[in-house]
C-alpha cells in the first residue's frame, strides 16, 4: 500500500491518475476513500465516524479562505479541517467515469 501512495504522488504530478486528495475534489462530487494518511489519533477518529477506505463520500461545502470542508459520509455531514482533508486520498466514483 505504501508503494501505491508513492505511485499516487507520481501520478498526481503527471496528472494522469484518478486518485487525488479530498481538497482537490469539486463541490458536489462523489468519491471513494482510498486511504487516510493522517496520524493515529485523527485516523481513528475518522474511522470511527465512518471514513474508512472503500466508503463513498460526497463533498458538499468548502469553507471560504481555504477553511475546512464538509462531506457527507453514511448519510450525515462531517466537517473536516483542510489540513486533514488534504491527507485523505480519494478516487472518482465509477459512476462519474462512465
Amino acid at each position: 500500500m505504501s508503494e501505491e501512495s508513492i505511485n499516487n504522488k507520481e501520478n498526481q504530478m503527471k496528472g494522469t491518475s484518478l486518485n487525488k486528495c479530498l481538497t482537490e475534489c469539486e463541490k458536489g462530487e462523489e468519491v471513494i476513500v482510498i486511504r487516510v494518511n493522517a496520524g493515529r489519533n485523527a485516523k481513528t477518529r475518522l474511522a470511527n465516524l465512518g471514513v474508512v477506505p472503500g466508503v463513498k463520500i460526497t463533498k458538499t461545502k468548502n469553507a471560504p479562505f481555504k477553511g475546512p470542508l464538509e462531506i457527507i459520509v453514511k448519510g450525515s455531514s462531517l466537517v473536516i479541517g483542510r489540513g486533514l482533508a488534504s491527507k485523505i486520498i480519494v478516487k472518482c466514483n465509477e459512476a462519474c467515469l462512465t
Partner: protein, 716 residues
C-alpha cells in the same frame, strides 16, 4: 469469571423499593437530553465527573414501584480513549454503579449510531436500544423492522419519539424487565400482543409489582448477556487473534478481578493499543508478555490488511452494520428524492462565504443585545427594591452600625449585587445559548472560523465558547470542555476569558458610549480583539503540542424544543445560583470588612504608581479596579456613586482619555472572580493565575501606551 458477567452483583435479592441505575448513552445530538428531561423532570443535578472537567447530569424518578437513577452520559462516537468524555463514559458504564444502559440511537443516522452500539455491546452490560426520532424517519416514508432488530440483537429495541414522549416510559418498563426479572428476550411476544393497549399494559405491570411485593422476594435467574457472536464478529484473521489473546488474558484473570471488562473487550482494546487497558496489564511481567503478544498480533494484522488496526476494526464493524441495515430498513416509496427544505436554505446562507460572516456578526450582536437588555431591565427593578429596603434598614438600625455594614451592605448587598449584576444577565444568557445550541447554529460558526482560529493554535470549535463569552464568561469558560486536548482547552479558555462579556459592556457603554460616542466603542473592540489575537499567538507559541484538526459533525437545523430549552436554562441557572453565588456573597462580606477598617485606602496608595503614574488615572480608581474583579460593572457603578456624592458629572471626574483607558483596562485586566474559579476548575490554579497575570500585563501595556500616546499627541 466474575468479570465476564459483570452483573452478578452481591445484590441478589430485589426488594420492592429497589433502585435501578440507568446510563443514557449515545452519539451527540440524538435526543438523550430530551429523553432524560422527559423522565426526570426538574429533579436533576449538574456536576462534574470526579476529578474530571466533564459535565455529569444526573436525575431521579419513581416509576412502577422502583426508584430510577439516571445518568445522561456525554455524547460520544466510540469507546476509545482519545477524549475525556470517552474515558469517563467507559469507566462509568462498566462500573458496578450501572444496572442497565439505554443506548439512544438517532433513527435518521443509523449507521454511525450503530457503530457506537456495537462498541457498547462489547461491554456486555444489559442494554436497551432506544431508536429515537422515529417521527422524522417515518416522515421520509421509511420504517424499521423492530422485530428483526430484536431478533438480531437479542435485546429490547424500542421505537421512541422523545419530543412527544412516545415510548419513553416503556424504556423503563423494559429496564425493570431486564434488571429485575432478567429475561431479556422472552417477554416480547407478550408485549407485542398488548402493545396497542398501553393503559392495560401499565395496569398489568402495576398489578404485577404489587403481587411481587406480597411475596417479598423474587428468585431470579442470573442474567447472561446474549451471545451476539454472529452479529459482532469481525473477519476471520482478526477473530483468531482476539480468541488467542482472550485465552491468554483468561489465565491472567486474577489480576483483573477489580475490573468488569469482558475478555473479548480487553483483547480488542489491547489490539487497538488502548492506553488505559495497556496500563492495567503493564504492572507485572505476565501482563507485559500479553502486551508484547498483542503488539506482534497487531503488526501481523496490519501487514495482511495494509491498514492500521483501528481502521481495520472500524471497517469490520461498519460492514457488519451495513448487513443489519439491509435487513431492517423498510422503504415504502422507492424513489426518495430529497427536497430542498428551509433548513437547507438556512444552512446554505449561514455557511456562505459572505452572508455567513454577516450573519455571524449579527448573531454576536444579538446575543449581546438581548442578554443585556433583558438583564438590564430586571436589574433595574431589583435595584429599586434594594434601595427601598436599604432605606428601611438604615433608618431602623442606623447607617453606621457595624453589623448593618457587614451583613446588610456586605452580605445582602453582595447577594443583590450577584443577582442584580450577574444573575439577571446569566439567566437570559443561558436561555439564548440553549436556543443557539439546540437549533444547530454554533457548528456553522466553527466551520466559518476554523481557518482563522488555526492561527491562534486551536481549531474552529473554539469559536463556540467564545461566542458564548459575549453573554457571560463564566458559563462560556465552562463550555470550553468541548475541546479535545488539554492544550486546546487551555488556549480556548484563555481566549474566551478575554471576550468582553455583557457586564463589561455596561462599562464601555456607560462611559465611552455615553460620553465619547460610538466610534470609540469600535476602537475599544478592535483593541480588545487584537489583544485576544496576541494572547492566542503567545499561547500557541509557548504551550507544548500541536494544533489538532477539526473533525465535527454538522447537524441539520432544527426547530429548538422549548421544553428542553426551559428546563436546561433552569438547571444551569440553579447550578450557578448554588455554586458561584455563595462565593460572591463571602467576597462581598470580606470587601466590606476591609472597607470598614479602611484597609482599602492603602490599596489606592499601593496601586497609585500603576494607576496614577502609568495609566494616568485618579488614585481612587485603584479600589474600583479591585472591586471590578468581583463584578466587572461594579467599577462603573462605584465611579458614578463617587461622582454623585461629589456632585459632579463623570465628565468632570475623568477626562476622555482617562475614560478610554479606564474602560480598556477593565475590559482586559483580569477575568471576573467567578470566571477565574471556573478557569481554575477546568485547568489548574497555576494556569488560572498565569492567565490572570498575562491579562493584567496586557491591560497595563495597552493602557499605558494609550495614555502616553495621547499625552505625546496632545503636547505636539
Amino acid at each position: 469469571m466474575s468479570y465476564h458477567s459483570p452483573h452478578n452483583k452481591s445484590r441478589n435479592v430485589i426488594n420492592f423499593k429497589d433502585t435501578i441505575n440507568i446510563a443514557l448513552a449515545g452519539n451527540p445530538n440524538v435526543g438523550k437530553s430530551v429523553i432524560f428531561n422527559q423522565l426526570t423532570g426538574l429533579s436533576q443535578t449538574i456536576g462534574n465527573w470526579p476529578g474530571k472537567t466533564v459535565e455529569r447530569m444526573e436525575g431521579h424518578l419513581a416509576f412502577l414501584g422502583y426508584h430510577f437513577n439516571i445518568v445522561d452520559l456525554p455524547g460520544i462516537y466510540s469507546l476509545s480513549t482519545f477524549s475525556l468524555e470517552e474515558i469517563v463514559s467507559r469507566e462509568y458504564v462498566i462500573s458496578k454503579k450501572v444496572d442497565i444502559i439505554i443506548n439512544v440511537i438517532d433513527a435518521t443516522n443509523l449507521e454511525r449510531n450503530l457503530f457506537f452500539t456495537f462498541q457498547l455491546l462489547e461491554l456486555k452490560v444489559p442494554m436497551i436500544l432506544a431508536i429515537n426520532q422515529m417521527d422524522i424517519l417515518r416522515k421520509r416514508n421509511i420504517d424499521l423492522d423492530f422485530k428483526e432488530l430484536e431478533r438480531i440483537f437479542k435485546l429490547p429495541v424500542l421505537p421512541v419519539v422523545a419530543i412527544h414522549g412516545t415510548g419513553v416510559h416503556q424504556l423503563l418498563e423494559e429496564a425493570i424487565e431486564l434488571v429485575v426479572y432478567r429475561h431479556p428476550h422472552k417477554h416480547y411476544k407478550k408485549r407485542r400482543s398488548i402493545e396497542s393497549k398501553h393503559h392495560s399494559h401499565h395496569y398489568y405491570r402495576v398489578e404485577h409489582v404489587h403481587e411481587r411485593s406480597k411475596s417479598e422476594e423474587v428468585i431470579k435467574k442470573s442474567f447472561s448477556f446474549p451471545d451476539l457472536n454472529q452479529v459482532t464478529s469481525f473477519g476471520k484473521e482478526v477473530e483468531l487473534k482476539i480468541e488467542s489473546l482472550s485465552k491468554m488474558i483468561k489465565s491472567f484473570q486474577r489480576n483483573l478481578s477489580s475490573y468488569n471488562y469482558p475478555l473479548r473487550f480487553l483483547a480488542i482494546k489491547l489490539l487497538e493499543r488502548d492506553s488505559e487497558i495497556i496500563k492495567i496489564f503493564s504492572d507485572n511481567e505476565e501482563g507485559k508478555e500479553i502486551i508484547e503478544v498483542s503488539h506482534t498480533y497487531r503488526e501481523e494484522l496490519e501487514d495482511i490488511h495494509g491498514e492500521d488496526i483501528n481502521t481495520i476494526i472500524s471497517s469490520e464493524i461498519y460492514s457488519n452494520i451495513k448487513k443489519i441495515i439491509d435487513l431492517i430498513l423498510i422503504t415504502k416509496i422507492k424513489k426518495n428524492k430529497k427536497r430542498r427544505t428551509l433548513a437547507d436554505f438556512i444552512d446554505h446562507l449561514t455557511t456562505h462565504s459572505i452572508f455567513g460572516y454577516i450573519i455571524l456578526i449579527a448573531v454576536l450582536f444579538g446575543i449581546y443585545f438581548s442578554t443585556f437588555s433583558i438583564g438590564d431591565f430586571i436589574a433595574g427593578l431589583l435595584d429599586d427594591a434594594l434601595i427601598v429596603w436599604s432605606d428601611f434598614i438604615y433608618t431602623s438600625f442606623g447607617e453606621d452600625n457595624v453589623w448593618v455594614k457587614v451583613f446588610w451592605d456586605g452580605g445582602v448587598g453582595g447577594l443583590f449585587g450577584a443577582i442584580g449584576g450577574v444573575l439577571v444577565y446569566v439567566i437570559p444568557f443561558f436561555f439564548i445559548i440553549e436556543i443557539l445550541q439546540d437549533s444547530g447554529y454554533l457548528p456553522r460558526a466553527a466551520f466559518l472560523m476554523d481557518r482563522i482560529m488555526h492561527s491562534l493554535g486551536v481549531h474552529g470549535k473554539t469559536i463556540i465558547p467564545m461566542i458564548l463569552g459575549f453573554g457571560c464568561n463564566v458559563a462560556a469558560c465552562a463550555g470550553c470542555r468541548i475541546m479535545e486536548t488539554e492544550r486546546e482547552k487551555k488556549i480556548s479558555i484563555a481566549l474566551t476569558s478575554l471576550v468582553p462579556c455583557a457586564a463589561t459592556m455596561t462599562i464601555v457603554l456607560g462611559l465611552v458610549g455615553r460620553y465619547l460616542g460610538f466610534y470609540w466603542i469600535l476602537i475599544l473592540f478592535l483593541i480588545n480583539f487584537s489583544v485576544i489575537f496576541i494572547v492566542g499567538r503567545i499561547l500557541n507559541k509557548t504551550l507544548p503540542g500541536q494544533c489538532t484538526e477539526l473533525i465535527m459533525e454538522m447537524h441539520e437545523y432544527r426547530l429548538p424544543n422549548y421544553v428542553v430549552i426551559f428546563k436546561q436554562t433552569w438547571v444551569r441557572s440553579k447550578e450557578f445560583i448554588f455554586k458561584a453565588m455563595p462565593i460572591m456573597l463571602i467576597l462581598g462580606i470580606i470587601l466590606e470588612i476591609l472597607l470598614i477598617f479602611n484597609a482599602l485606602e492603602p490599596v489606592n496608595v499601593i496601586l497609585s504608581p500603576v494607576t496614577v503614574l502609568w495609566l494616568g488615572l485618579p488614585a481612587i480608581t485603584g479600589v474600583f479596579l479591585i472591586y471590578g474583579i468581583l463584578r466587572k460593572e461594579l467599577s462603573l457603578v462605584l465611579l458614578s456613586i463617587l461622582a454623585n456624592s461629589l456632585n459632579v458629572s463623570l465628565l468632570e471626574l475623568l477626562t476622555p482619555i482617562q475614560m478610554v483607558v479606564f474602560s480598556l483596562v477593565t475590559m482586559l485586566y483580569v477575568p471576573c472572580f467567578a470566571t477565574i474559579i471556573i478557569l481554575a476548575k477546568q485547568t489548574s490554579w497555576k494556569f488560572a493565575i498565569q492567565i490572570s497575570l498575562l491579562e493584567i500585563f496586557m491591560a497595563l501595556l495597552v493602557g499605558g501606551i494609550i495614555n502616553f500616546g495621547f499625552q505625546i499627541f496632545i503636547s505636539l
